[in-house]
């Protein structure tokens, strides 16, 4: 765990805006990929940013902060899906309202349908920009498991690797 010290309750508006703008699109893509609908995604991002801005520990580095907020977001998504999985299926038709460009809509639709274990690796690799060794660290799985999941995820998404 990365907690070192609880932060103060007070935070400047400027810092809230800075943190929010820094992570908003990355976390939106991660959250949407998990929950697959706009409203739940909004609730999860709201909760994640409140934790980051008002209840997070002091971080030793920006990298630690980034990892922490990604973990928080993924955990919130998983908790949400765990709670509602049986009665809330991913409404793919909503994608039209969220992603106006067809190519983006198609890609997000494929990611939303990916099995959870491949999804985490694909998101951390392509959206958060982590290396295989870093993903292994974050997800607490071996590097070979990360490589395997990335390969299977790519196969399902029909992504061709380039030399």
């Amino acid at each position: 765990m990365e907690i070192a010290q609880c932060t103060d309750q007070w935070i400047s508006e400027e810092l809230v805006i800075k943190k929010y703008n820094k992570y908003k699109n990355m976390l939106f893509n991660i959250a949407y990929s998990y929950v697959g609908n706009k409203h739940d995604c909004e609730d999860i991002l709201q909760e994640a940013f409140i934790k980051l801005c008002y209840h997070a520990p002091d971080f030793e580095s920006e990298e630690n902060e980034k990892r922490w907020i990604i973990r928080i977001t993924i955990n919130l998504c998983k908790n949400h899906l765990g709670k509602y999985w049986n009665r809330k299926k991913v409404p793919i038709e909503e994608l039209d309202e969220v992603f106006y460009q067809e190519n983006v809509r198609n890609v997000m639709s494929d990611i939303v349908r990916l099995p959870m274990k491949y999804k985490s690796c694909i998101l951390l690799y392509y959206i958060a920009g982590y290396k295989i060794s870093e993903i292994s660290d974050i997800l607490h799985i071996s590097e070979s498991a990360v490589k395997m999941r990335l390969k299977r995820g790519r196969d399902l998404l029909k992504i061709e690797m380039e030399d």
Partner: protein
């Protein structure tokens, strides 16, 4: 699809402006006050959208004008409580009233002397681990990992003595205005005095001394009353604030009125409520709830208690008002 193309498409995927603005606005309005009385006095009230006092002094000065009317006895108590007529005006109308009555607010504020009792407490909110679990916090403010190991985080030297410390500071502040501590034990046990402590202020209006005690409280989320709250309920709790202003008055207090300035459309309600112990409360309910209690005691004289609640429902306010016990021997509180 080529990997490069896949990455480029992902880069184009962004949240829409509506969601972006909504999350940002909610984030900025989330619990950003620093709980200090100074900030409260200078900035008015962050959570109050429609109703506010022009100044603290304005409300107090104008409450002293007697307009005549009925008197209500607090049933079974030796203290009388009286109705207060709550009127709403615009800021311009209030300024005009001040001019007509030659009330010099600037002079009052310039001559005001302030004495603080205690520093109050720093708010320590919940913290979470990387799994999103709330970390346990003990009475000293220390945090603990889920495995039980401690995280040092500015421990509170008072620890369990915090309640006694707050009460003692309250006793001393109330003594300045010749009263016993009027804050109910329920508040001390479940809320903490906010930073700034108890504030006694003294000045003159028309050559007559004017004194009061102000204090604000925030809920202590680890107290038995609130420790079961989670999620949205916990977030709402952390935004709640209560302000007490107690003003002794050396003239008749029966049937007075008070002016509140209204910003924008006046959508508030005004009514009275009698607590389970028989105290007559005069309530102004908007998204911010203000309660006036005018009392008269043979031992302690006359005065007004003003309570302000931010982020409370009226039912929650009434439950707290029911805990007030203004009996003749206030010391039994």
């Amino acid at each position: 699809m080529k990997e490069k193309e896949f990455k480029e498409i992902l880069m184009q995927s962004k949240m829409d402006n509506f969601m972006d603005k909504k999350i940002m606005n909610n984030l900025l309005s989330y619990n950003t006050d620093d709980n200090s009385l100074e900030a409260e006095e200078q900035n008015s009230y962050k959570y109050r959208k429609l109703v506010k006092f022009a100044t603290k002094a304005a409300s107090v000065v104008l409450v002293l004008f007697v307009i005549g009317g009925a008197t209500a006895w607090a049933a079974g108590l030796l203290v009388k409580t009286y109705p207060v007529d709550i009127k709403t005006v615009t800021e311009e109308e209030l300024e005009k009233l001040h001019e007509e009555r030659k009330v010099n607010i600037d002079e009052y504020l310039a001559n005001r002397e302030i004495k603080r009792f205690g520093d109050g407490n720093k708010m320590k909110g919940p913290a979470y681990d990387t799994e999103g679990n709330m970390l346990k916090r003990d009475e000293y403010g220390n945090l603990y990992y889920t495995d039980g190991s401690i995280i040092e985080s500015e421990p509170d030297q008072w620890g369990k003595g915090r309640i006694e410390k707050d009460k003692k500071n309250g006793d001393e502040a109330f003594a300045e205005i010749g009263l016993p501590n009027l804050i109910p034990d329920y508040i001390y046990e479940n809320y903490k005095v906010a930073e700034g402590g108890f504030v006694y202020s003294e000045s003159n209006i028309d050559g007559k001394p004017y004194k009061n005690v102000m204090v604000s409280f925030f809920p202590e989320y680890t107290s038995p009353e609130f420790s079961n709250l989670t999620g949205n309920d916990l977030r709402t709790l952390l935004k709640k604030r209560i302000w007490f202003t107690i003003t002794p008055v050396d003239r008749p207090i029966e049937n007075t009125y008070v002016y509140l300035t209204v910003v924008g459309e006046d959508s508030g309600k005004t009514y009275s409520y009698t607590t389970s112990s028989g105290i007559l409360c005069n309530i102004r309910e908007d998204d911010h709830i203000i309660v006036f209690i005018n009392y008269s005691s043979e031992i302690y004289g006359n005065g007004q208690i003003m309570l302000e609640f931010s982020q409370y429902t009226i039912d929650e306010v009434k439950a707290i008002l029911d805990k007030l016990t203004l009996i003749e021997d206030f010391s039994q509180n």
